[in-house]
């Protein structure tokens, strides 16, 4: 539904008219029209690769549009480069943090500001405390976890006093408390009359803070309007490809007979850096959810089991065999594999082809010395088909895929080693509803095949939906365990913040 002719320029604080963009052959934006007024928060939702980030990058002047114009308060502006956008009070908090790794947090926030160092510092401290986020300002950015990096990016954006603020999936790796405080702040900004683009894949958030919502699909805006005019179902309908059914993840309600089963993975009072005294066992065909707030130590626990970090004490048994302190390579061979949290840092071969990405772990067992190109091809094709990875071919360059498809490819690689145990760390981070359903389907698939799944996620809805049992981590320790009945949002949230008491908890169907 591209625009025919130029509609009159509204008095929007920012008005976008007929923006088009294509990368080489792939046309990503096909004539976008959008108006946002002061004090509005427009939630931009849409599948991976719908073109949300691209549109924002164009507004920010990072990419040049192939066609179309941008009006600020009615007058035409040529966003030739970011400095122009900044000069007009536009600021983009990018989807993937772009900090300066060798600078301290403070320098990262301060760079580009002209104000006095002193008052800037006080402002930073203020906003931090206002948000209740605690990151030491003198830490080097390259020691920050992905989540912390995102916090810093947000703080930077808020400090800019931009009058048009773009938040591209700011909460993709945050958890409740951070998000809550962020939303309070956004409310204030609303009142100040700042207009905000808010990109997210979490529909609940849309209803929490957005005034307007726009859905993008295949480079066009398929529906837009006041949030109040829509229900969650409407949005989901609008998101999914017209004929696709809304939920293809049939939640398997059948209880697992634990008594009959031997645990595949046993962790016995494991202590390492960032966590201690972890006791848990995962059974074949079970999904064990691991909930917790950012910094709870879940990633550290997972990576340590995966042989990336040093074990302080305790041990890990896989099929009763001790795999404590083995190298990643050995752990892999023993049949445990891990989907990393930071996709860009540890997950993808950005400039490599999708095929190469998928086969990279499978190669070792595929052939002795020479490459077995056929086996590779078949493998890649299989997963691209099964996981509905959206590519022009298995030889598309990974970096040009959208987040969701990249994530699917990474999961494909992990499964290509046919592991007995899979650890998924934030498997749906920055992934759209459609892809999310696919990933859930994949996970349930694994469950059926009798693979044991350890699901780390900051998105508790996800955990509630998928897990058979849940442990919550709090400050590096497992502080509570929940069986199927007791897995509810409130319980998990309470437990993750260490304020859960037995008894006054909510059984499902109470």
């Amino acid at each position: 539904m591209g625009t025919i002719g130029e509609p009159p320029i509204s008095n929007g604080m920012i008005s976008i008219r007929g923006i088009c963009k294509c990368f080489s052959s792939n046309s990503v934006l096909k004539g976008i029209d959008l108006d946002v007024h002061s004090g509005e928060v427009i939630a931009l939702i849409g599948g991976n690769g719908a073109g949300k980030s691209t549109l924002m990058k164009i507004i920010m002047g990072i990419y040049q549009p192939d066609g179309g114009t941008i009006y600020l308060n009615g007058e035409k502006v040529n966003m030739s480069k970011p400095s122009v956008a900044l000069a007009h009070g536009i600021y983009l908090v990018p989807q993937e943090p772009m900090l300066f790794p060798n600078m301290s947090v403070e320098e990262n926030i301060a760079i580009g500001f002209t104000d006095k160092k002193k008052e800037l510092h006080t402002r930073i401290v203020d906003i931090m405390s206002q948000l209740g986020w605690e990151i030491r300002l003198d830490r080097k950015a390259n020691t920050l976890s992905i989540a912390e990096q995102q916090l810093v990016e947000i703080v930077r954006g808020l400090l800019r006093n931009a009058n048009i603020l773009i938040l591209d999936e700011p909460t993709s790796s945050l958890t409740f408390n951070e998000i809550k405080s962020l939303f309070q702040l956004i409310e204030d900004l609303k009142k100040k009359g700042i207009c905000i683009f808010y990109i997210t894949h979490r529909l609940t958030e849309v209803f929490e803070i957005a005034t307007h919502v726009a859905i993008m699909r295949d480079g066009m805006i398929t529906l837009k309007g006041l949030v109040t005019n829509f229900t969650k179902e409407d949005l989901i309908k609008g998101l999914l490809p017209s004929e696709a059914k809304i939920k293809n993840t049939e939640k398997s309600e059948d209880e697992i007979e634990y008594s009959k089963l031997e645990p595949v993975l046993e962790v016995k009072s494991l202590s390492g850096y960032g966590f201690r005294d972890i006791d848990l066992e995962v059974y074949p065909g079970e999904i064990l959810g691991v909930a917790g707030v950012v910094g709870a130590g879940r990633t550290e626990f997972a990576t340590t089991v995966f042989g990336m970090d040093e074990v302080k004490s305790g041990n890990v048994l896989l099929d009763g065999k001790d795999i404590t302190g083995l190298s990643t390579r050995q752990v892999l061979d023993k049949g445990l594999n891990y989907v990393p949290e930071d996709r860009y840092l540890n997950g993808i071969f950005k400039t490599g082809e999708v095929g190469i990405n998928i086969s990279s772990a499978f190669l070792r067992n595929s052939s002795k010395f020479f490459l077995n190109t056929n086996a590779e091809k078949n493998l890649a094709d299989k997963y691209i088909k099964d996981f509905r990875i959206k590519v022009t071919g298995q030889d598309q360059i990974m970096g040009s895929l959208s987040g969701g498809n990249q994530q699917k490819a990474v999961i494909a690689r992990v499964l290509s080693t046919s592991p007995k145990v899979v650890i998924l760390d934030e498997p749906t981070r920055g992934i759209d509803a459609g892809a999310r359903c696919d990933v859930y389907a994949i996970i349930n698939q694994l469950k059926k095949q009798g693979v044991a799944v350890l699901l780390i996620s900051s998105d508790f809805e996800e955990i509630v939906e998928l897990s058979d049992r849940v442990v919550t981590m709090y400050q590096g320790r497992i502080n509570h365990r929940f069986n199927k009945k007791k897995i509810t949002l409130d319980n998990l949230t309470a437990a993750s913040f260490g304020v859960y008491e037995e008894g006054n908890d909510h059984e499902i169907g109470e």
């Binding site: 983009l92 580009g112 960032g274 707030v293």
Partner: protein, 337 residues
């Protein structure tokens, strides 16, 4: 404690420590080395290297490399020396030399930013062209008989021992350091080298910054060329051959990371003093000059490896401390740091 860590982290401090240690050891073996006279000779003798290193530091900080500075030194030296010999005024000679530096810098900059030629290739090519032009310009001959007054400039001293050259270089380095560490635009160089896309996002003119870096390194190489002429008094077509590698090594010794974004020109200056002292040190240690390269190589590797290991240990220690800290917190403290 914090201070100690800070000092450990400030790489240039540890290279300074190394420099001092080296001098003391040599002094222990052969006290003649520690005579103030000789120390000043050593420092005065490293001005050319310091200029080269400080100049190239801009390029390395901004994440690129420049292997054409050796040739730049050669050409600017040849040009200025020829002018001086043919009786033109100092002003003209200096202007000409600097012009050479600027032009080469601009060419490098354009090639790397506009035509996106990998910097090693761009400057490698330019290096060849410039080196060749020296032969064309000098017709392969030496440029000799530079006027005595210009030569004597290199010996003019401030309070007896400290040459004006050294004084100037020190001041220059200090100023540059302040610019890079304190001013908004100065910080851009490291920022660009640290994360290009991040720099673009916050509106830093990435390409402009890189061009500026190359021009700076060109100018500094040209100044080095002038000092070369004044110190040496004649210019061979091979003047400055291989200095680019020495300058790079100096930067590395001084704690500048070749991946960009990390380091200070102070460090570069210290590194160049180390580099230029080695051949002197060997004389005092009674080592055969045969081992000149062997020792340079070993020093370079040992220092850099040792340093990198220390830095990594510190980072890892910090990380683990932070992580453990989170687990040891009293249950109930709601923070996650």
């Amino acid at each position: 404690m914090k201070l100690v860590n800070r000092i450990f982290k400030a790489r240039e401090i540890s290279s300074l420590a190394f420099l001092i240690a080296m001098f003391l050891i040599v002094g222990a073996v052969n006290p003649a080395f520690l005579q103030t006279k000789n120390l000043f000779l050593t420092f005065n003798g490293s001005v050319v290297y310091i200029l080269m290193a400080v100049g190239i530091a801009f390029v390395i900080l901004s994440g690129e490399i420049d292997v054409s500075i050796g040739a730049t030194l050669g050409l600017s030296a040849a040009v200025s020396a020829t002018l001086l010999r043919n009786g033109s005024s100092w002003g003209i000679a200096i202007a000409a030399a600097v012009a050479v530096g600027v032009i080469i810098g601009v060419i490098n900059g354009i090639g790397v930013t506009v035509f996106k030629v990998p910097s090693i290739i761009m400057t490698l090519g330019v290096n060849g062209v410039v080196r060749g032009s020296i032969y064309v310009y000098t017709n392969g001959k030496w440029v000799e008989n530079v006027p005595f007054d210009f030569k004597s400039l290199s010996q003019a001293t401030f309070m007896g021992t400290l040459t004006y050259f050294l004084l100037g270089v020190i001041v220059l380095t200090a100023v540059v350091h302040l610019i890079l560490s304190k001013t908004k635009r100065g910080k851009y160089f490291a920022a660009v080298g640290d994360n290009v896309s991040g720099a673009t996002l916050i509106g830093i003119p990435v390409e402009g910054t890189k061009v500026a870096a190359y021009i700076t390194s060109g100018i500094f190489a040209a100044l080095a060329g002038l000092m070369y002429v004044s110190r040496v008094g004649f210019v061979t077509p091979t003047a400055g051959n291989g200095y680019e590698m020495k300058a790079i090594a100096a930067c590395v010794l001084g704690g500048i990371s070749l991946t960009g974004g990390v380091g200070t020109v102070i460090g570069a200056a210290i590194g160049s003093v180390i580099m230029s002292s080695i051949s002197r040190v060997l004389v005092f240690l009674q080592f055969s000059s045969d081992y000149d390269n062997t020792i340079t190589g070993i020093l370079l590797i040992v220092i850099v490896v040792a340093d990198s290991l220390i830095q990594r240990r510190l980072a890892e220690k910090a990380r683990r401390k932070r992580l453990s800290a989170r687990t040891l917190e009293e249950v109930g403290g709601g923070s996650n740091e």
